[in-house]
Amino acid sequence: MFESNVGQARGSKHRVHRMVEALSEALLLVFGNPGFIVSMAGGALAGLIVGILPGFGTMLAMSLFLPFAFKMSPVTALPFLAALLAVSRTAGSVTSVLLGIPGESVNAASVVDGFPMTKKGEGSRAVGAGIFASGLGGLVTVILSLAIIPLVVPLVMMIRSADMVFLILVGIAFIGVLGRGTMIKGVVSGGIGLLLGFIGFQPMTGASRFTFDSVYLYSGLDLVAVAMGIFAIPEVVALFATGGTIARGAAGPTAMAGVLEGLKDIFRHWWLFLRSSAVGFYIGILPGIGGQAASWVAYGQAKAMSKHPDNFGKGAVEGVIAPESANNACLTGDLLCTLSLGIPGSAAMVLIIAAFYMVGLVPGPDMMTKNLPLSLSLILTTAVGNVLGVVICFFGASRLARIALVPARILMPVISVLIFVGAYAANQRFNDIVVAVVFGAVGLLMVRYGFNRPALLLGFIMAPLFERNVLVALQVGGPLFFVRPIALVAILAIVGLFAWEPVKGLFQRKRQVKRA
């Protein structure tokens, strides 16, 4: 019924021919047009600056660029934005691993293992793993996306609200159960994150929850402020308390050698890399979920399937590879979904859609039919952008890695300023700084008592989507809304996650008894 309403190519042979034709035109557009290349390079540079500066998010940069888009043609405005998006995520990994501050919110998961690597003197290796995983993850999924364009819409249509409820819970359970600390503390952290995410208007009744009649809280707490507070402030305090430099102990390999070691790690863990990219890509296709969830879910599955899960959280390079390959892969999926459906799948895509209007294009179902070459060129631009991002960050990485050797008395004030400016920059509200400070205190307490910060953040991020889907699923399907194949499989996965540790412990004890 869905397809019958959209213009269809007759026969698969015709479709393949049309795709090849459009791809050739797209390649010509990307590589044969100097304006396109210059614009892409400009976007890549802007993405580097935006990604490296924590809190100065991609959304802010894109909205600053929008007025200029009016005066530009599609072949200059759109590649600038696509490259900016791609490179900012790659560059964001640098700040995450070297300073423990997420450069972009999608890079928050890389802090968990990336920053401990820096403390161990492996900062350049962590940077190398991050930037190459990010760039290659985006590149590999561009190739994948070109192959699965016809499947995107059916994949999206397959997932209903009821399924989304349990898929989200699987993601939170992954992090809660498999993260640091005990399972109970992980689950509690995830639950608290969900509760914090419910602050604001209730989507169904319009009632305001936990807002204390403050207009600021009507739309809930700001993600950037919470993320900065939970992750970045405790690291600054720890730096202040311990003094010295971020990197402790041995200096580790030279910076360039370390970066290349990080690249080699990706080939050593090639299956993890491909798996995480696939996870990120699929999550990107599903509208509304976003890169933050993709990177955390990828992290969770990396730990779940690792032979050495206890190394995670202490500086395991897999803990950097997984989220970084997922976050750029997610962008490719997001872009593909937006172009296929003609509707934005995330906040960043809303701006891309706005840019379409500004340059005189009308986004919609025709993007993958009448405007297929331009749509494909945008997807290719993210691939080229990823490569550019890797190249730019690679040459800067060895110098940037030396940040880990800067004394705390110099670094700490700089980082503190970046945190507060970052918290303010997103919405220009002073209250966001207050929130960052409050959550800084929360983060310190969580570190002190062994609670799981990633689980809290993921719960917070997913809360609005979770609640919306629960409400819709209940209204549409009634109390038995979960009786659907995908939902039931997700429920089994959650039960399995909770049962895993106790069952594993039981088998281990039995084996010990037998040996004895």
Binding site: M1, F2, N5, V6, M59, M62, S63, L66, P67, F70, V156, M157, R160, S161, F201, P203, M204, T205, G206, A207, S208, T211, D213, S214, V215, Y216, Y218, S219, P287, G288, L341, G342, I343, P344, G345, A347, V350, L351, I353, A354, Y357, M358, G360, L361, V362, G364, P365, N427, Q428, R429, P464, E467, R468, L471, V472, Q475, V476
Partner: protein, 350 residues
């Protein structure tokens, strides 16, 4: 002698300064509005994140402002509270005419109707500059619905229809409630919480999770025919210029006098965007702003930029006209309307 001279000179200068500043006329008396706005940047507050319809219109205005006045206009996004934060901010800004707001009239009025405690503005006191891109709402059926191919008469006979909507206190919800009332849909219910925007609603319609939806014409039309099969009626007494093929509700349904009153009250909640300044801004600056925005609407560059998103642009209303409408609504009793519409909404009464 020298000492005395110095003291006298200093005291005289101070006195002259004090007298001078006391006598200085108010800014609007000495500086013409045209010069004032050429030299000072205007901040246009938008209560949503960048990229949406209101933000897009604001940015087009900002670009055209330079051409029209020689001065600068900056768009400031202040998302929060469904736009309340930006409205509160603009209402309490310094009344010098340099802070304006652009916001759908319906949203601000609905907050007043449902007595949202977060409101710190008095909507009947704002000084409207103009009202742009007025649209009505359309009821449309999704491709995923089993009733997608039905005519309006057949659709009205269906028991238990589900209409998708965003927040319970939003314009979509009110339009959905009105549709249920006017069409007499049996056991119909509104499924709230769909949307972060048109994207979620479009997907819910395509997946068949909801049967139909009410939304502004341009949003609904952008989803046709991928997510929507047919638009059944326009919630107005006349057809929309954006989609003239869709009949008005008065053409397809014979309304009772009570239903006509409901429709009349509903039409005051216009989804179009009003630009306004806060109370206290001098009259000459308000007049200048009104004339400038009218002039902007006539600029070729503006017309070209706006037509990609709004192919049909209805003539704007003047500031005075929209102010009259708002005053008229806020001075009439709307309890019956709120009660009738509210029974489909689970809005917390404050």
């Amino acid at each position: 002698m020298k000492k005395w001279l110095t003291v006298v000179t200093a005291v005289s200068l101070v006195l002259l300064g004090v007298i001078g500043s006391a006598c200085a006329p108010k800014a609007s008396q000495t500086i013409k509005p045209a010069d004032f706005y050429a030299k000072n940047a205007v901040a246009l507050q938008v209560g949503y994140t960048p990229g949406g319809g209101t933000d897009y219109l604001a940015r087009i205005f900002a670009t055209a402002w330079k051409e029209a006045t020689g001065g600068d206009m900056v768009v400031e996004n202040k998302p929060g509270g469904g736009g309340i934060e930006a409205t509160n901010y603009a209402f309490s800004a310094k009344p010098d005419g340099l802070t304006l707001a652009i916001h759908p009239v319906a949203n601000d009025l609905l907050q007043w109707l449902f007595k949202n405690p977060g409101i710190q503005y008095q909507y009947n006191k704002v000084q409207f500059i103009g009202f742009f891109l007025d649209e009505t709402q359309v009821l449309a059926v999704g491709v995923g619905s089993p009733h997608a191919k039905k005519s309006l008469d057949e659709f009205r006979k269906v028991d238990g229809l589900k209409l998708g909507s965003g927040a319970a206190s939003g314009n979509q919800a009110v339009g959905s409630s009105l549709s249920i009332e006017l069409l007499g849909l049996k056991n119909a219910k509104i499924v709230f919480g769909i949307g972060g925007g048109t994207a979620d609603l479009g997907l819910a319609l395509a997946k068949g999770e909801v049967d139909a939806a009410v939304n502004i014409v341009t949003s609904i039309k952008s989803q046709y025919p991928k997510f929507l099969n047919v638009a059944l009626m326009n919630l107005d007494t006349k057809r929309s210029p954006y989609w003239p093929e869709v009949p008005a509700v008065t053409e397809v349904v014979k309304l009772t006098p009570e239903q006509q009153d409901l429709l009349k009250t509903y039409l005051y909640f216009r989804p179009g965007k009003a630009v306004w300044a806060n109370p206290g801004v001098p009259a000459d600056r308000i007049e200048f702003l009104r004339r400038t925005f009218d002039r902007i609407m006539e600029l070729d560059s503006f017309k070209q930029q706006i037509k990609t998103r709004w192919p049909v642009v209805v003539p704007p209303l003047t500031g005075e006209a929209i102010a009259k409408d708002v005053q008229a609504l806020m001075s009439t009793p709307v309890d019956k309307f709120a009660q009738t519409i509210g029974k489909y909404l689970s809005v917390q009464k404050n």
